[in-house]
């Protein structure tokens, strides 16, 4: 029990003192995970819309693949990305292994299926007659997509939260493709693993608290946006 209190006290102390390393790690974590989420939204929402609105050969297979991807273990994605980005891998020449970019790629692959899945579900729940009407009014496909996004923002914000949550909380892939390099690719989760291994439980608890508070604040902001129109 002492250890837990020590951890919480240490967390407060590190934050109060503005510990540079923790702040750097926190900012890096935010930058990497929000880039990954943003890219996942950019690719995932249109993809989800296509899957929701079009019928084509192989659609069922893709949807099944997306659903599988929603529960993909991060270490599997990490191994895949590492195999591709290692020097001797197919894209080794890009020298991306052990860089934040590699981590963004891995986290993007993790959150993409969640974003696609949530978008697909929420867009599919829109009344098809409404979509028919929008088309009939002469909207082009991007205008249709935009209107759909506005119509389904409740579900899409859930997609944002799920995607961001998956990206920021995973550790296996970040460890493998980032290498947990101090000052370069160390993020909150990998730093927590390192400090736990080193037996520095107070610091590990402090890092975990930062991660939880961060995730909470981001979700609080998103939830506020999501619920604004509905709760008066």
């Amino acid at each position: 029990m002492d250890l837990i209190w020590d951890g919480i006290r240490e967390a407060a102390r590190l934050w109060w003192a503005g510990d540079r390393e923790i702040i750097e790690i926190t900012l890096r974590t935010l930058a990497i995970s929000s880039s990954a989420t943003a890219l996942a939204l950019l690719i995932g929402i249109p993809l989800g819309a296509v899957l929701a609105l079009r019928r084509f050969w192989g659609r069922g297979l893709i949807v099944a693949a997306v659903n599988t991807g929603m529960g993909m273990p991060p270490v599997v994605i990490g191994l895949l990305v590492a195999l591709i980005l290692w020097r001797t891998g197919p894209l080794g020449r890009l020298d991306l292994i052990y860089t934040p970019t590699a981590m963004v790629v891995a986290q993007l692959l993790l959150s993409l299926p969640l974003v696609v899945g949530f978008s697909l579900a929420s867009i599919q729940s829109v009344n098809p007659r409404l979509i028919g009407q929008i088309w009939a009014m002469g909207a082009n496909r991007w205008q249709v997509l935009w209107l759909l996004v506005r119509e389904t923002r409740l579900g899409l914000l859930a997609a944002v939260m799920a995607g961001f949550g998956a990206a920021i909380s995973e550790v296996g892939a970040s460890m493998q493709v980032g290498g947990n390099l101090a000052g370069e690719t160390r993020v909150l989760t990998t730093a927590t693993v390192l400090e736990t291994g080193r037996g520095n439980f107070e610091v590990a608890i402090a890092l975990s608290l930062v991660l939880v508070v961060l995730a909470f604040l981001v979700n609080l902001a998103l939830t506020t946006v999501q619920q604004r129109r509905f709760v008066r």
């Binding site: 290692w86 020097r87 001797t88 080794g92 020449r93 890009l94 020298d95 292994i97 052990y98 290498g179 947990n180 390099l181 101090a182 370069e184 736990t196 291994g197 080193r198 037996g199 520095n200 439980f201």
Partner: protein, 301 residues
């Protein structure tokens, strides 16, 4: 329908073209990234913090940025074989010699040594404290722990420490991982994680002295029980990966090897955290040999 097919084919074509162009653009650059050195090393060395002190000096002097990838020695050696690291810093002499013979590394040079020790619960339920034969001590640990009074935490990760532990078991004809007995825990993680498990579970374990000393504040339930057997000496060598592996920064790798062997750096290795622990974590060994060190019983030159 057909039009859409043609469109998607076009997009696919564009994608392939851009990947091809990207590859071509990269191919015209030098074959490796001269500003970057990938150092694959053991978790035990990394956890000690020694590299955090030495590497920035090298980076400052040469402008080469070093990426330290801390994995088990087995994985580090494999990264060398595959050409995914430029230089290795490991502690498994037999496996390292195999790489040298196979031509995977261009050289193997002793950098430093320390020793392994068996640590265990303070009340020492297996009563092995002070035994001079490490393998016999392990046999006793098994005999006592079979009765359920203790456990042994193995790295179980093909690391240098794990290889050393297995060679000690082999010396008393025990292969614990095949026995499937409850007292033998295969942790499958780094040294510090394994020590933490041992501390929590009141288990014995084999550890390098560097990691044990640097963590001992966090390991209140453990104490050293067996040390001083010459088989417990722990040799760290530096192995630049052979340039024939392709895209290897052999120049920086040699520079880093020479850096580690330099007199002032060797002195830093000798003095690392001596004040804090009252004894050295590592003993510098440039120009020394394993046989000479073993003959001295591990005493410094």
């Amino acid at each position: 329908m057909l039009r859409r097919w043609i469109l998607s084919l076009r997009i696919l074509g564009l994608l392939f073209l851009s990947v091809a162009l990207l590859n071509a653009a990269c191919a015209s650059e030098p074959d490796y990234n001269a500003d970057q050195l990938i150092l694959a090393t053991t978790t035990s060395l990394n956890d000690s913090g020694l590299l955090d002190q030495l590497v920035p000096i090298f980076e400052e002097e040469t402008g080469v940025s070093v990426k330290i990838i801390a994995v088990g020695t087995g994985a580090a050696l494999r990264m060398g074989v595959e050409g995914n690291a430029d230089i290795l810093l490991t502690h498994a002499p037999d496996s390292e010699r195999e790489l040298l013979i196979a031509g995977d590394v261009s050289s193997r040079t002793l950098v430093a040594y320390n020793d392994f020790l068996i640590v265990g619960p303070r009340h020492d339920p297996a009563a092995v404290t002070g035994l001079s034969d490490a393998a016999v001590a392990l046999a006793n640990v098994r005999a006592s722990c079979l009765g359920g009074v203790c456990e042994f935490a193995s790295r179980g990760d093909d690391s240098g420490t794990h290889k050393k532990e297995l060679s000690l078991w082999a010396a008393v004809d025990i292969s614990p991982s095949e026995l499937d007995e409850d007292w033998y825990l295969e942790v499958g993680q780094g040294m510090s994680a394994t020590l933490t498990v041992a501390n929590q579970r009141d288990a014995y374990t084999l550890t390098d002295r560097g990691t044990y000393l640097s963590l001992s504040d966090n390991l209140p339930n453990l104490m050293p029980v067996v040390e001083g057997d010459s088989r417990l000496l722990n040799y760290y060598s530096v192995l630049p990966v052979s340039g024939s592996k392709g895209r290897i920064n052999a120049l920086a790798a040699r520079a880093f090897r020479d850096f580690l062997l330099r007199e002032d750096v060797q002195a830093m290795i000798d003095n690392y955290l001596v004040e804090e622990y009252g004894r050295p974590l590592f003993i510098a060994a440039a120009g020394d040999s394993e046989s000479a060190i073993a003959a001295r019983g591990g005493a410094p030159r």
